[in-house]
């Protein structure tokens, strides 16, 4: 039994959902559709509004002219290196915050919170100067070191939250069993919080994957560019067909979309934890 009022509410709700889906989904749809158009359509006769799968071979050929493989490889290096470093340091910090009371704990919390507030651009110039001094400019190592400053705290918050849920007794039991603290962390605690480690890894990985400001400033050499900088170089440049540009953007976006959708809740928990407890 549905009253007219309820029916109207229901219709309104589904209309609203429909509008939101179009607003949120259209740009991605359009990216795919554009990638599968040919240039003459894009600039001349008018873009075809649906993806034309018959143009897929053309897209593949066009992408062959763009060093997208090289860029993605660099991106992969930057993202993986940053992930390993953030998780290692984040696990240490998370463990200390989860298990110990120590002088300076408040300061540590404040510093971690600050990292979430400080604009990246603000440390750009001093880092640039520092990297010149240490020969880290124009190197992936330098870029990773810069990125990790921002992803480490998020990894720390995610891992600390998970460690808080591990009972103390398990840890004390290991201590009685003659297990040093560092091994308590690596052999007991970390294996128990694997799902959260995976979540923190995805967050850190895609922070590195998406990063643009540092990469565009610290890397001069085209061969070192990650995909974000490479793709950005298409802006204001008209030799590369738009279908190839957006095709490359799509290839670049897909892993991020897939992983973000897979562990969306964990990411949100990680991003909000720092601000709640900081």
């Amino acid at each position: 039994m549905m009253t007219p009022r309820k029916l109207a509410m229901k219709a309104l709700r589904y209309t609203l959902i429909g509008v939101l889906v179009v607003l949120a989904g259209f740009p991605v749809y359009w990216m795919a559709a554009t990638a599968l158009n040919v240039n003459s359509q894009l600039y001349g006769t008018g873009q075809v509004a649906w993806p034309q799968l018959q143009h897929l071979p053309d897209l593949v050929t066009e992408l062959g002219n763009v060093p997208i493989g090289r860029w993605l490889f660099n991106t992969l290096l930057i993202a993986s290196g940053g992930t390993i470093l953030s998780l290692t340091l984040g696990a240490l910090a998370g463990y200390a915050l989860s298990r110990f009371k120590f002088h300076g704990r408040g300061l540590v919390g404040f510093l971690l919170f600050m990292t979430q507030v400080v604009p990246e651009a603000l440390i750009l110039v001093p880092l640039y100067a520092m990297f010149i001094t240490f020969g880290l400019l124009n190197s992936l190592t330098g870029l990773i070191l810069a990125n990790v400053g921002f992803s480490l705290p998020v990894a720390c918050f995610v891992l600390k939250g998970a460690m808080d849920a591990v009972p103390y007794e398990i840890e004390e039991s290991a201590i009685i069993d003659n297990c040093p603290r560092f091994s308590v962390l690596t052999m007991i605690i970390l294996p128990l919080i694997m799902p959260s480690i995976a979540a923190a890894a995805v967050v850190a990985f895609f922070a590195g994957w998406n990063e643009f400001l540092f990469a565009s400033t610290f890397l001069m050499d085209n061969s070192l560019w990650p995909a974000s900088v490479g793709l950005a170089s298409f802006v204001g440049q008209y030799e590369t067909p738009m279908s190839a540009v957006l095709g490359a953007a799509l290839v670049f976006s897909l892993p991020a979309i897939v992983f973000f959708l897979l562990i969306q809740r964990k990411i949100v928990a990680g991003l909000t934890a720092g601000a709640v407890k900081g």
Partner: protein
């Protein structure tokens, strides 16, 4: 094997004193039970012995040397936790072998990744594998060796925790309420298993519990604690028969000792205010005190035959015996309008007497069975000393 000595050990958290000047000796090979209500500091004491909690002041001696600052591993103890604290990501076999593997680890084995390889290697080492297997056999865990803790029942987990404690053959076993997460039947069974274990290994056991039945059945000695202060240190029999104060009297025994306010006027005893009782023995030289008698020392008689007239308020039939809660007829009992039955005097009789709630009866006692306590601080009053 260590003899433990506590010398004025105290523990404070901020302003909160958890343990106040605790002094005691724990002898080699005994089964010592730390008994007390929750929050009395008994677990903290156990954790101090293990080296898991710091000692605020005083000294803890292992065989005469101050051990306050020793690392847990130096103390050679095994700890069984209330929650068992098994490693959830390891199989039963790996859980039991873990202490052995840690002992066999060299420093550099603790490096990340190296530790994984080292652990797998050591699991296969003949002596470790054999020792693990033999302990598992002793505790009938062999069929479960490749399962993980999550798939075990409470009793099985308990046995894995014991196996892990036994495997290193420590000199001192610390058990923190190990049976409180089990159901009643299993608890009775595990109680005798742990007692038997103590006899077999012949090492020192320190066992923390709030359950007086566990304490009475297993201990060779009991330390009764309340609010961080030791109430009595003695054998189970002494604790039961000669409690040092009303706290111990009430805490040990079920139903607890009957404690009745009493007064002495002109060398005549009055219970619960007005009930004058002929007492056949000397009375303490006090005006107000507490009269204590165990339920099984009271005898039940038809109305008028015993010295204490009473009315039946509660009857608990336990099969072999019956516990009857009575209200003493002091002449003022009708003024009491409360619905709940407080301050009942319990009497324990064998068999199944035909008695109904509301029936009038009488109680009687032997003067030898009476213990006297100070009415204010609850301490035992000894007649011969005064």
């Amino acid at each position: 094997m260590p003899a433990l000595t506590f010398k004025n050990v105290s523990k404070t958290f901020g302003d909160n004193t958890v343990i106040d000047a605790f002094s005691a000796d724990i002898h080699d090979g005994e089964f010592l039970v730390l008994l007390g209500p929750s929050g009395c500091g008994k677990s903290t004491l156990l954790r101090m012995i293990a080296g898991l909690s710091d000692i605020t002041s005083g000294d803890l001696l292992f065989d005469g040397s101050v051990a306050n600052d020793w690392e847990p591993k130096q103390r050679g103890v095994a700890f069984v936790f209330q929650t068992y604290a098994l490693y959830p990501h390891m199989t039963v076999r790996e859980n039991i072998a873990f202490p052995l593997i840690m002992d066999a680890f060299r420093k550099w084995y603790h490096l990340p990744i190296v530790n994984i390889v080292a652990r797998h290697r050591l699991m296969k080492r003949a002596d470790i594998a054999e020792r693990t297997l033999s302990i598992a056999r002793q505790l009938e865990l062999e069929p479960l060796l490749d399962r993980r803790p999550a798939s075990l029942s409470g009793g099985q987990r308990q046995r894995v925790a014991l196996a892990r404690a036994l495997v290193r053959n420590p000199a001192l076993y610390l058990l923190d309420e190990p049976l409180s997460n089990l159901d009643a039947k299993l608890r009775t069974q595990m109680r005798s298993e742990i007692s038997a274990l103590h006899h077999k290994v012949g090492k020192t056991f320190v066992y923390v519990t709030h359950d007086q039945v566990e304490a009475m059945t297993m201990a060779t000695r009991i330390i009764v604690m309340n609010k961080g202060i030791v109430q009595q240190v003695d054998t189970p029999d002494e604790i039961y028969d000669h409690p040092a104060n009303t706290f111990v009297a009430r805490f040990v025994g079920s139903p607890p000792m009957n404690l009745i306010p009493a007064s002495v006027r002109n060398n005549a005893l009055q219970l619960s205010g007005r009930l004058a009782v002929e007492h056949a023995a000397p009375l303490p030289p006090r005006r107000e005190l507490t009269f204590g008698v165990r339920p099984e020392k009271l005898t039940l008689h038809p109305a008028g035959e015993g010295r204490l007239p009473a009315q039946v308020a509660v009857v608990e039939r336990l099969g072999a015996e019956t516990v009857i809660g009575c209200r003493l007829m002091t002449g003022e009992e009708n003024k009491d309008q409360r619905l709940l039955e407080h301050d009942l005097v319990f009497v324990r009789v064998s068999g199944n007497p035909k008695i109904k709630i509301g029936e009038l009866c009488s109680l009687d006692y032997q003067a030898d069975d009476v213990l006297w306590f100070d009415i204010d601080n609850g301490d035992r009053i000894f007649l011969d000393q005064e």
